[in-house]
Amino acid sequence: MRTFGWVKCVGAAVLSTALVSCASTAADAQAQAPSFDDAVKSSFKERGQAGMDRLNRNAMQLACSVPADQSPTGDAAKAIQEQAQARVVFPADGEYFGDWKAGEKIAQTGKGMQYSDDPAEPNGGNCYACHQMAPDEIAYGTLGPSLKGYGKLRGTSDPMLQYTWTRLWNSHVYNVCSHMPRFGDAGILTEQQLKDVMAYLFDPKSPVNQ
């Protein structure tokens, strides 16, 4: 039981892990064995705002469901990155900056989209979970690079603003299997919230740039 049927395995889009799984369990496979996807679906149930549709993976999620050293390369990576780029939506009014104080709150807030969260509340960005930002905030994580002095170090040229907006919208444009959530593309933050985070990163008065 619970072995992966080799036929479904070969058909799975998560090629590298699936092949490893096949190699080590093919001998164990039984006709009635459920596929990996079936095993996953039967292991979860809808709760609050977290529906079962959250287990349906898009092409990027499927391709990136592997150890880092097996991430897609070459044309496969290029296809994911180009698709990500094509889906980026820039601010309708051409204005990149909102309110850095609102942006700070978004960077500090980790709530949003968990089944334990109130869906009526705005989502947080939780930037500090992974990034250093303002130098006087010591409770920052280290999964992502430090963003201390972000705007001061990089300036506010158009290409820099477009790059940063794109990075927030869908980080996979630049790193095919980036760990960073697609804050714009996945609808985690609104356009206004993204502008507020942009201001927190670039505004000379923002604590990030002190």
């Binding site: 799984s21 095993a39 709760r47 993976r57 592997v66 947080g124 979970a129 409770a139 920052y140 999964l143």
Partner: protein
Amino acid sequence: MKKMSGMRWPALLALTIMGCASGVVVAQQSDDDIFAEYREMFGDDNPAELIEWQGEDLWKEARGPKQASLEQCDLGLGPGVVDGAYAQLPRFFADAGRVMDLESRLVYCMVELQGFDKAEAAAKPYSGRGEEPSALEALSAFIAGRSKGTPVAVPQDHPAERAAFELGKQFFYLRAGPHDFSCATCHSQSGKRIRLQALPNLTASEDARKAFSTWPGYRISQGTVRTMEWRMGDCARQQRLPEMKFGSDVAIGLITYLGVMAEGEPMDAPGLKR
């Protein structure tokens, strides 16, 4: 300690209180230093001990429609053998025809030996805030405690045990949900932290051994013992996934994967957790 927010409030509150109480300069330390100090203050005393005793009483008490105790429950080493059993779970049980972790095995025994309804026995595996520990929490604390010092040896002999490992490993890397998080997002690099909290790299033996051998654990910020299945399910919640079902193939697969990664580590549960 300014500007804390979000899901880490209880932990940070506890941390602040402890920091003040012991006169520690919080700003210079990670959470883990603080909790290490807290553990040291406890010495050999772990508040989980009280819950272990409750679990032992529950194990011996005649309960359920059959008014039987759990003392003849087979945890893998034969009926009634508790010592060292937890260090070899999850494993395949021929009587149930599937791989079971401690918690799903306890439910099986409650049904078979005590006559409880299965859905009822598994309906509320974890206690709510401020509530008494659940039967499964107390029993898990007791049984895990009876494996202290026994090296972890999660079996991989039966094909179903190897399949559980493969399922757990594959799920570990599964990216899904609005945030694209997998277990590996937070737990596949060494020396990283989220906010101030160190993240174990569960793909590396050293961290996996330490993590696996200390669950179930007394969760200081919640004032109760939490089980390994609770740990898996709460990570899934933070991954923005739907609810991971208690006793599900994925839960047992992940625990099998971590157990195999932790091979050889002497059990040291219930641990003390933040």
